[in-house]
């Protein structure tokens, strides 16, 4: 891990989730020198995150083993992109150092994050994202015997429930905002993807409640209970943890900084997974949430295209179309219904960093004015959480990202000034 950072490569891949690993394999198989940088301590992304309490699916293990043995691959874990200081160059930071990496081609596999919507009490310790709780558990958190509530929307809630169950946590609520009809329609539609249907059955949970609404989290200095509305009835449920999430949002910040065009789902790509910027590709959930199978095939296509293997890439387009159809099903059936989102209370914090309430934001007409007046989005997360929330709550367009892409040491930013890097 303390190896020096690489200086240059033919293909630089940002993100070592399913898309990034599949792409690295495809490109390295065709002789490219590949560097993969990833902000987590180990490859796998969010879905295949490794840890002391994880049994990864065989498919994930196999891909990871192949990935880590690739000739010509340099994997830089626990490494973040903080800026794109010049064309063909990224500035990256690790815990103890920083450096610039020059590339001929760049592939963005930056994934998606959870959409985290504000509700009263969401800043209490004990409240996490659904993916966040999974990550904590995979990182060694013990939940055995703890009372755990899960609420929000999307298949990630079920995956989180399965993780909790496997770790012997006590699931006290599993509240999905989508109605039964939508969920049933989704499940019936799964006959076209038998593996997914099997997965859905395996994840099925007797606590699952559709058309449910998360009302608030209660507690003094820590979470003590959650209030959930189901079938017109509000119930207060005592719990130790609440995991919540309202679908996924593509991580597009680096792409935006590079000038790549977006569409309403994420980074805009063509049939070769190429973005609007020459030499820059994107694959996986940063082009729109769609699950690991779609990410894998998109990653392979992107890796092949980056290695100029267009016929091989084209041969995969039917498989991609199949999983794109699955992604469309997901999006349709888990669409957020504003009447079942948490209630809007003026005192609820929207910006967790700068502590700005919903009431302070409501008076404004757009993100920029709201930000200037209230400092919403000006804290450490730079609006990553609250801008996704205000997009949902008010329809405000999120702000373009500004460097550094995540908090970075001033020492690291000084490296952006290097004209030529000394050996």
């Amino acid at each position: 891990m303390n190896e020096r950072l690489p200086r240059e490569c033919e293909l630089l891949i940002v993100g070592a989730g399913p898309a990034g690993m599949a792409a690295a394999c495809a490109a390295a198989d065709h002789g490219m020198s590949v560097v993969v940088i990833d902000d987590n301590p180990a490859p796998g992304g969010q879905i295949w995150r490794a840890g002391p309490r994880v049994d990864l699916p065989l498919r994930a293990q196999a891909l990871r083993e192949r990935f880590e043995r690739l000739p010509g691959l340099r994997l830089c874990s626990a490494t973040r992109v903080i800026d794109a200081p010049a064309p063909g160059r990224l500035l990256v930071e690790r815990e103890h150092d920083a450096g610039v990496i020059d590339y001929h081609r760049l592939l963005l596999c930056t994934g998606a994050r959870e959409r985290l919507l504000p509700f009263p009490g969401w800043t209490l310790p004990g409240v996490t994202g659904a993916g966040g709780l999974q990550a904590l558990i995979k990182g060694g958190l013990t939940v055995r015997g703890e009372r755990i509530a899960i609420a929000g929307s999307g298949p990630l809630l079920l995956a989180c429930a399965a993780t909790v169950r496997a770790q012997r946590g006590r699931l006290v609520a599993l509240a999905e905002q989508s109605p039964w009809q939508a969920l049933a329609g989704f499940t019936i539609g799964l006959w076209r993807w038998p593996a997914k249907l099997a997965q859905a059955i395996a994840l099925a949970n007797p606590r699952y409640r559709a058309a449910s609404r998360l009302i608030e989290a209660l507690g003094e200095r820590r979470l003590e209970a959650v209030v959930i509305e189901s079938l017109g009835e509000r119930r207060e449920i005592a719990c130790d943890r609440l995991a919540c999430g309202f679908g996924l949002v593509a991580n597009t910040e680096l792409a935006q900084l590079l000038g790549c065009a977006l569409d309403e789902r994420g980074i805009l790509v063509d049939q070769h997974q190429a973005t609007s910027v020459a030499g820059v590709y994107a694959a996986g959930e940063c082009t729109g949430p769609g699950g690991s199978e779609l990410a894998l095939v998109e990653g392979r296509i992107a890796g092949l295209a980056a290695a100029d293997q267009y016929p091989l890439a084209a041969a995969l387009s039917r498989r991609r179309a199949r999983w794109q159809a699955f992604a469309a099903q997901l999006e349709q059936h888990f669409a957020l219904d504003s009447s079942r989102l948490p209630p809007r209370r003026a005192t609820t914090l929207v910006c967790r960093c700068e502590e700005v309430t919903l009431g302070e934001l409501e008076a404004h007409s757009d993100w920029r004015r709201a930000k200037l007046a209230s400092r919403c989005g000006m804290g450490a997360c730079q609006g990553r959480v609250c801008a996704a929330a205000t997009a949902q709550l008010f329809g405000w367009a999120p702000p373009p990202p500004r460097p550094p892409l995540s908090p970075a040491r001033i020492d690291s930013l000084l490296l952006a000034g290097m004209e030529e890097v000394q050996e």
Binding site: D39, N40, P41, Q46, A50, G51, P52, A78, R80, E95, R113, E114, L116, T123, P125, G126, V127, T128, G129, G131, G132, L133, Q134, A135, L136, G139, G140, L141, T142, R221, R222, R352, C353, E355, G379, A380, C381, R384, V385, S406, P407, R409
Partner: protein
């Protein structure tokens, strides 16, 4: 097993544990305090929300994306 300190208190945890999980293992999972001094704990778990920033061996880092190391000194952010 790995030994580290959290605000000066010793902790012994399995290798591969994240600093965020180590906070929880200490019995008090808060990582930082808000402007009024109320506790904030790891939230998104994936390096986005910045709630879990703590001081690790003198540098401000994210607890959720850092694994514990032998002798690591972790301090909550005030």
């Amino acid at each position: 097993m790995i030994r580290l300190t959290l605000d000066g208190e010793a902790l012994v945890l399995p290798e591969g544990t994240s600093v965020a999980a180590a906070l929880a293992a200490s019995g008090d999972d808060h990582a930082r305090s808000d402007l009024a001094g109320r506790p904030r704990a790891p939230f998104c778990g994936m390096g986005i929300c910045q709630e879990c920033r703590v001081c690790i061996d003198g540098r401000r880092r994210l607890a959720c994306q850092t694994l514990i190391r032998e002798g690591m000194e972790v301090e909550r952010t005030r």
